[in-house]
């Protein structure tokens, strides 16, 4: 299988920050909003270079979503910034009516998604956001896997007309995608070809899937690894093409198994090509305090969990 090298651990939120810095220099219509979390969202450089295009909203996320919708009227491209929980569940109706239903060109950028923000615990973790956002008609949902891809995605969504949910995280994780890789919304990336099983992963779980595939190769199992950075619209063809070859699939995500990537994949398979599937995801639960590594271990979201899921699904082929 193709090997990937960790170019040095980095956080996906810093990829967002660097993407914003670049957009600040290249796209005069891009404006940034933040609800009192500038440091967490890593957008200080954008603010320093474009103070007039930054809106500090204060701790008022509902107001932030409405202001973002309003800024599009007049041609601005607003990027909102706060934690994933406060970007979605807290402001769902504001997003639903003022952004999604009104089809406003707002980019909802959400850091600290999933369990891996760690010690703050379940009030700040969110494992339901992909489901909440993918259910909104017209909403694009993107969950990049590393620093480079998050930066590329941030830049790419400015060129796309329509509401987008961009989900990323807090911890420093492996940075392994090519620095110059073009980001195409809705286009799955084949990371490593294989013949026995398909592993489809999103976000922080993509690197874990690559580690799992390497371990499986040592056991004589050939796993195909696909990076689904865009959960909606889903790249149905890439998924179907792969399972027609491998005959079974594991989906992996830092999210509840209800409403996440796995269910989207299952819908495609159930209607087009029924295939045995195992889910690496949380099991309808809230998170808790702990280190990111401890939480991923306890809730079954690491390379070991993916490996176990592969061994299970292979028995069902």
């Amino acid at each position: 299988m193709k090997k990937y090298i960790d170019q040095g651990k980095n956080d996906t939120r810093s990829g967002y920050g660097e993407g914003m810095t670049e957009l600040g220099r290249t796209n005069p219509n891009v404006v940034a909003l933040c609800a009192d979390l500038v440091g967490s969202l890593k957008i200080q450089e954008f603010i320093n270079e474009n103070p007039e295009r930054f809106f500090q909203i204060g701790i008022a996320e509902a107001n932030m979503m409405g202001i973002a919708a309003g800024l599009t009227i007049g041609g601005k491209i607003p990027f909102t910034g706060t934690f994933a929980n406060f970007s979605t569940g807290r402001v769902y109706d504001q997003i639903r009516q003022s952004i999604a239903y009104s089809n406003k060109n707002v980019k909802i950028c959400a850091s600290h998604a999933g369990l891996t923000l760690g010690e703050d615990g379940a009030t700040h973790q969110i494992l339901e956001d992909i489901g909440l956002m993918k259910m909104l008609p017209g909403m694009t949902v993107i969950n990049p896997c590393d620093f480079n891809q998050t930066k590329a995605a941030t830049i790419a969504i400015a060129e796309y007309e329509g509401p987008v949910y961009l989900r990323f995280g807090r911890p420093k994780v492996a940075n392994f995608t090519p620095v110059d890789q073009k980001f195409e919304i809705g286009k799955a990336l084949m990371l490593s070809e294989g013949t026995d099983v398909t592993i489809i992963a999103t976000g922080h779980l993509v690197w874990e899937a690559l580690v799992a595939a390497e371990n499986l190769e040592n056991q004589g199992i050939s796993a195909e690894v696909i990076n689904i950075h865009t959960i909606k619209p889903l790249d149905d063809e890439a998924i179907l093409k792969s399972v027609r070859k491998t005959g079974c699939i594991v989906t992996a995500e830092e999210h509840n198994h209800l409403g996440g990537l796995g269910e989207s994949v299952a819908r495609v398979l159930a209607t087009k090509h029924p295939t045995p599937q195992e889910f690496v995801a949380t099991n309808d639960t809230f998170g808790e305090s702990g280190t990111p590594a401890q939480l991923m271990e306890k809730y079954g979201l690491n390379n070991k969990a993916i490996e176990q899921a592969v061994l299970s699904v292979l028995k069902r082929k």
């Binding site: 404006v31 007039e52 295009r53 809106f55 909203i57 204060g58 008022a60 509902a62 107001n63 932030m64 979503m65 409405g66 202001i67 973002a68 919708a69 309003g70 800024l71 599009t72 009227i73 007049g74 041609g75 601005k76 607003p78 109706d93 504001q94 639903r96 009516q97 003022s98 239903y101 009104s102 089809n103 406003k104």
Partner: protein, 281 residues
């Protein structure tokens, strides 16, 4: 400038439109619509600076955001009578496949509408964003909003009210329709809100009152004054005291007509109080 008598003619016709639209589909919100008819007519025919035609960005013209979207009948009628879309389309209000949804939306591409509203409390935030975009664009035109008084019970308003003052959004004129009524009864019975005026002032707004919010002269004078107070570092709030159901005697002095359509006989009675002026659709 149109004469007040001309605005009065539009007002009477808009009242007829509201009553006939709501009656036809046996649903909708006539009470608040009738209470705000003079205001919306004055806004679109005299107060606001508007370009011909409609584009979403609305650069170099004034913008209006209806936050209490349930009074869509008055909004649709005034937009149609102002030429944003054919008056005959009022016939499709609340019908399947219509651009005139129960609550206003951009989703069906109706000219004149820039945001969906209906779920309450969101319009001021949107208007603030549009006002700040105008400032970035060096566009000196103003942004207007309308909110129900009951709607102020939604917390998002107070986030927006705090922000607009704190960030000196002084190209914004927000009007509160103070009719003292909401679905379940008077606002004082449902949730006493104390002094709205004192609250806005405490948050740092420049507040002015129009005591007779159903009198066109009072409205025109009031908004002339409101406009003169923009650009001075504070958002401007107009407290517009209106009568819900104004112009139809049996719909006034009660909250009963918030969201209820008149019967055939009631329609006939109501229309007889508002004789046709510009021609029914």
């Amino acid at each position: 400038m149109p004469k007040v008598s001309e605005l009065q003619e539009i007002t009477t016709q808009v009242r007829r439109d509201i009553l006939r639209m709501v009656h036809k589909v046996n649903s909708g919100h006539p009470g608040g619509s009738l209470g705000c008819t003079e205001f919306i007519v004055a806004l679109y025919n005299e107060v606001m600076e508007l370009k011909e035609g409609f584009d979403m960005d609305g650069k170099d013209e004034d913008l209006f955001f209806l936050s209490n979207g349930h009074i869509s009948p008055v909004f649709y009628s005034v937009l149609a009578r102002r030429g944003y879309f054919p008056v005959d389309e009022l016939n499709t209000f609340r019908l399947l496949n219509s651009r005139l949804q129960g609550h206003p939306t951009t989703h069906e591409g109706l000219p004149g509408v820039r945001i969906a509203s209906g779920s309450l409390g969101q319009g001021m935030s949107v208007a603030i964003g549009a006002a700040q975009a105008k400032k970035l664009n060096k566009d000196s035109n103003l942004v207007y909003t309308l909110h129900g008084d009951g709607e102020l019970q939604e917390g998002q308003n107070w986030e927006a009210i705090m922000y607009a003052a704190g960030k000196k959004v002084d190209n914004l004129i927000s009007t509160i329709d103070l009719n003292g009524q909401q679905i379940d009864g008077s606002t004082d019975d449902v949730l006493p809100m104390g002094s709205i005026k004192a609250k806005f002032e405490a948050f740092g707004w420049d507040v002015l009152e129009i005591k007779d919010g159903n009198d066109l002269d009072a409205i025109l004078n009031g908004y002339k004054e409101a406009k003169s107070r923009t650009g001075k570092g504070k958002p401007v709030c107009v407290l517009l005291y209106t009568m819900m159901g104004n112009g139809v005697d049996f719909m006034m002095h009660t909250h009963a007509w918030h969201g209820k359509a008149p019967s055939d006989e009631q329609l006939e009675n109501a229309l007889s109080q508002n004789p046709e002026t510009l021609g029914d659709y």
